[in-house]
């Protein structure tokens, strides 16, 4: 069935002035899927999402979002999409209840009062509904924003860095809620910089300077990168890293807490390259690379097409 794809777009392109911010991106997201959208700052994630929900006019591209034409039918798409902006964008001088009521009216939600009350209860915001949104802490603002995005029962949620600046407990709760909603058939496209969040996604796409570099499940993304990684612990890792980076077969040497991850694309040549350093007090261990190793690798390879 065609509807099994919530998002099915090809060649989405956006230029600002002479710069191509999103460069022919294809994306397919299945209904009920939690899709992670990753990439460094300024890679075009937000721009791509804004094109999906009609906030920006695409310069090129075609396809469907929720079965509607992504270019021509954005008015229909907007009705069934919940978009959570990167920066808190509800009214800080309205209370929680007033904000929710406003959004419910904008979408013409039937049984508005009930919907607002249920939304407040579900969030556990019951005691605070009269509080002004501007007085809320980051975590509560995020809860409010999510509640507001859900009030019109959208089929697709576009969440742009929903957990930036939110504490670990609130993040955990947030993801539990997302999983629960996805179980009910809601589709998610979520941008994030957190690796633990990326690993919670069903599938991922990695965007860099407007180009989609890789996509798939976590395992697929890691496999596609063809990295071999060694983990080192011991003294003076910083100096060791500097020396390792001079070896042509070492693609990267990156600090991970108290350890150093040394990666290369050819397992044998990497082993040869690190052999001279495998002496003394350092403990070397061959590990399977994680998402972060892969992303740092992708970021390092990408060309900055914005610099002049």
């Amino acid at each position: 069935m065609m509807d099994s794809l919530a998002i099915d777009v090809r060649g989405m392109t956006k230029r600002f002035g002479g710069r191509t911010v999103v460069n022919g991106v294809d994306l397919q997201v299945k209904t009920g899927e939690v899709y992670g959208f990753l990439g460094p700052n300024g890679s075009g994630k937000t721009t791509f999402i804004r094109m999906l929900c009609g906030l920006l006019a695409a310069d090129a591209g075609e396809g469907a979002c929720l079965g509607f034409d992504v270019i021509r039918e954005s008015a229909f798409i907007k009705r069934q999409v919940g978009y959570m902006t990167q920066r808190f964008s509800f009214y800080e001088d309205l209370s929680i209840a007033e904000n929710l009521d406003f959004v419910a009216r904008m979408y013409g939600v039937s049984n508005r009062r009930t919907a607002v009350r249920e939304s407040i209860d579900r969030l556990g915001l019951g005691g605070r509904q009269k509080q002004l949104a501007g007085e809320l802490s980051g975590g509560w603002k995020q809860r409010l924003a999510l509640a507001a995005c859900l009030i019109h029962n959208p089929r697709l949620l576009l969440l742009d860095e929903p957990t930036a600046g939110v504490d670990p407990k609130a993040r955990r709760d947030f993801w539990e809620q997302i999983r629960e909603l996805a179980g009910q058939g809601l589709t998610f496209l979520i941008t994030t910089h957190y690796m633990d969040e990326a690993e919670r996604c069903d599938r991922l796409a990695y965007l860099s300077y407007g180009n989609l570099l890789t996509r798939g499940t976590v395992a697929e993304v890691i496999a596609h990168a063809h990295l071999t990684t060694w983990s080192v612990s011991g003294p003076e890792l910083h100096a060791l890293a500097r020396r390792l980076r001079e070896c042509p077969d070492v693609i990267q040497a990156v600090a991970f807490g108290a350890r150093l991850h040394v990666s290369g694309s050819d397992a044998q040549r990497l082993e040869q390259a690190i052999a001279p350093f495998r002496t003394g007090s350092h403990v070397w261990q061959n590990i399977s690379p994680g998402l972060e190793d892969v992303f740092i690798h992708l970021m390092g390879n990408a060309k900055d097409n914005f610099s002049e």
Binding site: R50, L55, R79, Y83, R87, S89, Y91, E92
Partner: protein, 381 residues
């Protein structure tokens, strides 16, 4: 380095450089710095004239002796009066004054020449629209001497005695609508328009730029909404604010300044609605053009300055050159002032009001249309 010196040259220099860089980036402010003195010079230097000449005058000529004609020629030569039309009846004259088509009506009565020669000192009647005392003051002051010297030439020889004493003619000046020439009667109702122009344009001027600056615009645009909903939705609540101001000023005009209110107050309130909407529409359109709240404020100021100077509020409208009057005619405040003064002081009704009101309506519709067209449905620049 000693951080406790009261002035470190390096830090001071850093701030000066930063300020210059920021100044260069803010083009509109820079434009204001150049534009404001330019506009002020133009307006104060060329447009504004406290001694208006060539005031439109109607004549009711019921006598065709040479003396009547001599008088009219003298009035015309003074440059204060410009005869724009002849009226046949008193009621026609009345209507022309009420509509504001003419500033003066000069009546030369029947048998003027005959009575003059008899030494009866016939009356010549000059009716002035004195709602704005400054507009008519100098012209009226000049009348007595004008008439005396005009007839001097005709009354020579055996008729010279007529020019003696109190003069050959009995000049009667009627300062209509504001006989005592109280300037508050003119200014206080006008102030209602000025206050509304400033506040209404500013309030909605900030409306959309505030959403943009606070980031809430992105959210609003992601919802299914049409431009007209947003623009009208932001205009309507401010109509109440406008009415509060109208109420305050009308009350003060009545109780503190004892401004006469001859015409219908409901009519004033109805006109105020159109005027308020016109200004709110102007503001909302500025809001769609401005990038931030500061720019919206600057645009408001740019609109307010000509409104206050060219509308006839501060300086007599008819004292301005034609180009300035043309600009003035576009501004809603000009027409609102005429309506409010007309209704309160002259007792004008719907017939006179509609002549000005449609121009305010037209302004509102055009401005709102520009606003709807300029309103960006996406975040694209």
């Amino acid at each position: 380095m000693n951080t406790r010196t009261p002035l470190s040259f390096e830090r001071f220099r850093a701030i000066v450089i930063k300020e210059f860089v920021q100044m260069r980036r803010d083009r509109l402010t820079f434009g204001m710095i150049i534009g404001i003195p330019f506009i002020q010079l133009l307006l104060f230097g060329f447009a504004i004239n406290g001694d208006p000449k060539h005031l439109p005058t109607a004549v009711l000529l019921a006598d065709n002796s040479q003396y009547g004609t001599s008088l009219l020629v003298a009035l015309k030569n003074s440059n204060y009066f410009e005869f724009v039309r002849e009226v046949r009846t008193e009621s026609e004259a009345e209507a022309a004054l009420a509509r504001g088509d003419v500033q003066f009506v000069v009546t030369i009565p029947e048998n003027f020449g005959r009575n003059l020669l008899r030494g009866d000192r016939p009356a010549i009647l000059v009716e002035a629209d004195a709602t704005d005392p400054t507009a008519t003051g100098n012209a009226i002051a000049s009348l007595q001497t004008l008439i005396k010297s005009a007839l001097q030439r005709d009354l020579t020889g055996p008729l010279a005695y007529l020019a003696e004493g109190e003069g050959p003619v009995n000049l009667r000046v009627h300062a209509r609508y504001n006989p005592e020439g109280i300037s508050q009667y003119n200014i206080v109702p006008g102030l209602m328009g000025v206050v509304l122009t400033m506040t209404m344009v500013m309030i909605t001027g900030l409306a959309i730029t505030r959403e943009r600056e606070r980031g809430t615009m992105e959210n609003l645009l992601s919802m299914p909404t049409r431009p007209l909903e947003v623009l009208l939705g932001k205009i309507i609540p401010n109509i109440f604010v406008g009415y509060i101001q109208v109420g305050l000023i009308l009350t003060a005009a009545r109780l503190i300044f004892h401004v006469p209110m001859i015409g219908s107050i409901p009519l004033i309130l109805l006109v105020a609605l159109v005027f308020i909407i016109a200004n709110l529409a102007m503001g909302i359109t500025f809001s769609t053009l401005a990038k931030n709240q500061l720019q919206a404020m600057q645009m408001t100021f740019f609109f307010f300055l000509p409104s206050i100077l060219l509308s006839g509020f501060m300086f007599p409208f008819r004292g301005m050159p034609e180009w300035a009057q043309c600009i003035g005619e576009v501004l809603p405040l000009t027409h609102f002032l005429r309506i409010v003064r007309g209704v309160l002081l002259k007792g004008n009704g719907c017939a006179e009001v509609i002549l000005q009101l449609w121009q305010i309506m037209l302004f509102a519709i055009i401005v709102l249309a520009v606003g709807v067209k300029r309103y960006r449905k996406t975040l694209d620049e």
